[in-house]
């Protein structure tokens, strides 16, 4: 592995698996996923519905227990925490849910919802509770006059702000955002995305941002991991992933996005059929059934390989299929590295 500088990893997932037993067999919801999320970054997780992205997020923050594999948070293995440790972790890792309609308790006011985590953890003394609640409401932009309102009295955008406020109440370091804007209208979606980015800048938060919307994920994430049927098929920096999508699935996913730019209407790359069943999948590439480039060797087990620096792809044909793109990306990388070296040398010279 080529590392540019020392990484400050906050969350590390090592060969994580989550299987569910159902009548028809075993669902491989998350199947051997390894990734690192650095402090202060936003890791976007994309994929179609049913690919296991939410299950992954829920396992990391211990809403579900993984079948096997490890979760390392700030260098410490937290895969199977005891009750006390779990309570501590709840303060460190939080989640924002997709549907602000069903994720808030309809019988609790805005204030009570935000206060609840503070009360449960005894984190704030009683006399400061009021001030702290107000501080959080201001932080997420909820007007004080709705303190006593119930969720049904609020619109979707405000409800989502309450959900964000609740997640932030314990001052977490890591937040799983599970499709936080999918249920909102575009103008409200923009408000919430801006809020999430502002909060990240102010509080140094680290996000795992789960979505099926490629435009949103491109906007908010530093890095993107593409999932298909429980597995990672490609991961890279956002900009590079969009410039050089190497995996056939990523390529067709990107080409399917409708864009508002009339001058950049692209041809869609045809993908056959639909996402197949995650129940007892056969070995070999899971995308093979829909892939336009499928060959005999694709039915062998695949592994995630570093094709370009920090650009991992799980496709046995990628080097042959993307020869040209890889070459171009490599040249770009060399140029960038040259520039960085020159800059670093300059810095040293100036420092002396």
């Amino acid at each position: 592995m080529i590392s540019e500088k020392k990484r400050d990893t906050l969350v590390e997932i090592d060969h994580l698996k989550k299987y569910f037993d159902v009548a028809a067999g075993t669902v491989h919801a998350v199947d051997d996923i390894t990734m690192k999320i650095d402090r202060g970054e936003t890791m976007g997780i994309v994929g179609e519905s049913g690919c296991g992205k939410s299950t992954l997020g829920r396992n990391i923050i211990h809403l579900q227990n993984p079948t096997s594999g490890n979760i390392i948070f700030e260098g410490k293995d937290v895969t199977r925490p005891d009750a006390k440790e779990l309570k501590r972790l709840r303060g460190e890792m939080q989640i924002i849910f997709q549907d602000p309609y069903s994720s808030l308790n309809p019988r609790m006011t805005v204030e009570e919802t935000i206060m609840e985590p503070l009360i449960l953890t005894n984190r704030v003394p009683k006399e400061k509770m009021d001030a702290e609640t107000k501080r959080i409401m201001d932080l997420v932009g909820i007007a004080r006059r709705v303190r006593q309102s119930y969720p049904h009295e609020l619109d979707g955008g405000r409800r989502q702000r309450v959900g964000i406020g609740r997640a932030l109440a314990l001052d977490p370091k890591f937040i799983v955002c599970d499709e936080p804007v999918s249920a909102l209208d575009v103008s409200i979606q923009a408000q919430i995305l801006n809020l999430l980015m502002d909060l990240q800048d102010e509080q140094g938060l680290t996000y795992m941002f789960i979505t099926h919307d490629m435009s949103v994920v491109r906007h908010i994430s530093n890095n993107i991991s593409v999932m298909y049927l429980g597995q990672l098929v490609e991961t890279n920096e956002t900009k590079k992933l969009f410039n050089y999508p190497l995996h056939p699935y990523t390529e067709s996913l990107l080409s399917a996005i409708p864009t508002i730019d009339l001058d950049h209407q692209h041809e869609r790359i045809k993908m056959k059929g639909e996402i197949t069943s995650p129940i007892d999948p056969k070995p070999g590439c899971r995308f093979a059934a829909r892939c336009p480039y499928v060959k005999e060797e694709c039915h062998q087990p695949q592994k995630l390989e570093e094709i370009l620096p920090r650009h991992f792809v799980s496709c046995c044909r990628v080097r042959e299929l993307r020869k040209e793109q890889i070459g171009r990306a490599m040249r770009e990388f060399e140029i960038e590295r040259g520039k960085n070296h020159a800059k670093a040398r300059e810095g040293v010279d100036n420092g002396q």
Binding site: E48, S49, V186, A190, S215, T259, I260, L262, H264
Partner: protein
């Protein structure tokens, strides 16, 4: 609007009554459509887009939804004047609709094939055997093998169900298809398949489509004419090229700014502050003025008309007129 259009909606006003309150869902919407063209009704939740479509088919919830004013002329007859049995001949035959959620649009206890055959037999006196044959052809046209005729909705995935719904809507080769957020419940890859299929059908059958959506990306790909709807009114109207290249209304501009686009690199999205107005409360002036950055006293006091800013491009804003 010269009177020989295929569809003309004029001054449509629709109100709902709910819990003693009157909700002004559609406040004087007018537009026309030529045969073979696609129109997009774009706007956010609650703007009144679906109500317009339901008014055309006259399937508003009864008695809550009432068409208070206006006319809907389709192939030279005013649909609002037709009686029940005349209207039933139009519905599903000349005009049909695809609903947003394919999971609830199909009857779970009938086979998908039966549901398509039903539509065909309702309008055509043909033998059952021929109807079944035709239904199978429809299934194949939307990319589902004919053998699956005898299967039930739960045996299909979301994307396939939506294609069954589309097959049903197109079974009688309607002249007009109302597609209400047909791909919102679907994944992007499936969305692309469904949209492509719809535009192929437009080519082969010559069907005009009114596409209701909040996704401007889909509009860019699929539509000829765009009508931006806000608070029950059309605020901007024109062909796709003029609206997308020169959006004139502050709301349309806001919508474009609020979308993270693949080809822009803005870090912050330009959001529209505030919320759409409460449709149960009467509003004076421009419907958008409480959220508009450019609003003046005039905007709060007077209601702007739809004004032509360039040929064929209309905008309901005092600012854009000069």
């Amino acid at each position: 609007m010269d009177g020989n259009e295929f569809l003309e909606v004029k001054d449509l006003v629709v109100e709902y009554t709910s819990g003693g309150r009157v909700i002004h869902a559609v406040n004087g919407i007018s537009f026309s459509l030529e045969k073979g063209k696609n129109l997009a009704l774009v706007g956010e939740t609650g703007a009144g887009k679906t109500t317009v479509a339901k008014s055309i088919l006259r399937i508003l919830p009864d008695p809550q939804g009432v068409i208070k004013n206006g006319s809907i002329t389709f192939e030279n007859q005013n649909l609002l004047k037709l009686n029940g049995s005349e209207m039933r001949k139009v519905r599903g035959k000349k005009i049909s609709m695809v609903f947003q959620d394919p999971m609830t649009a199909l009857n779970p206890v009938k086979t998908v094939g039966y549901q398509i055959t039903e539509v065909i037999r309702k309008h055509d006196l043909i033998a059952k055997k021929d109807a079944i044959e035709q239904a199978k052809k429809m299934l194949e046209m939307v990319g589902i093998p004919g053998e699956r005729y005898y299967e039930y909705p739960h045996q299909f995935s979301g994307g396939m169900k939506q294609r069954v719904v589309i097959a049903m809507a197109l079974a009688n080769k309607p002249d007009l298809l109302l597609a209400d957020e047909p791909t919102t419940a679907l994944d992007v890859t499936i969305q692309a398949q469904v949209l492509e299929m719809m535009s192929n059908l437009k080519e082969t059958l010559g069907t005009s489509i009114i596409l209701i959506t909040h996704d401007l990306g889909i509009v860019a790909k699929e539509c000829d004419i765009v009508a931006v709807v806000y608070a029950g009114e059309i605020v901007e109207y024109g062909d796709k090229e003029s609206v997308f290249r020169n959006p004139a209304h502050p709301y349309t501009k806001g919508l474009f700014g609020a979308i993270p686009d693949l080809h822009s690199n803005a870090r912050r999205l330009a959001n529209i502050e505030g919320l759409p107005p409460d449709p149960s409360e009467p509003l004076t002036g421009c419907c958008f003025h409480p959220r508009c950055k450019y609003a003046t006293d005039k905007c709060a006091a007077n209601k702007p008309e739809l004004m032509e800013i360039t040929p064929g491009h209309l905008c309901r804003c005092f600012q854009s007129a000069n």
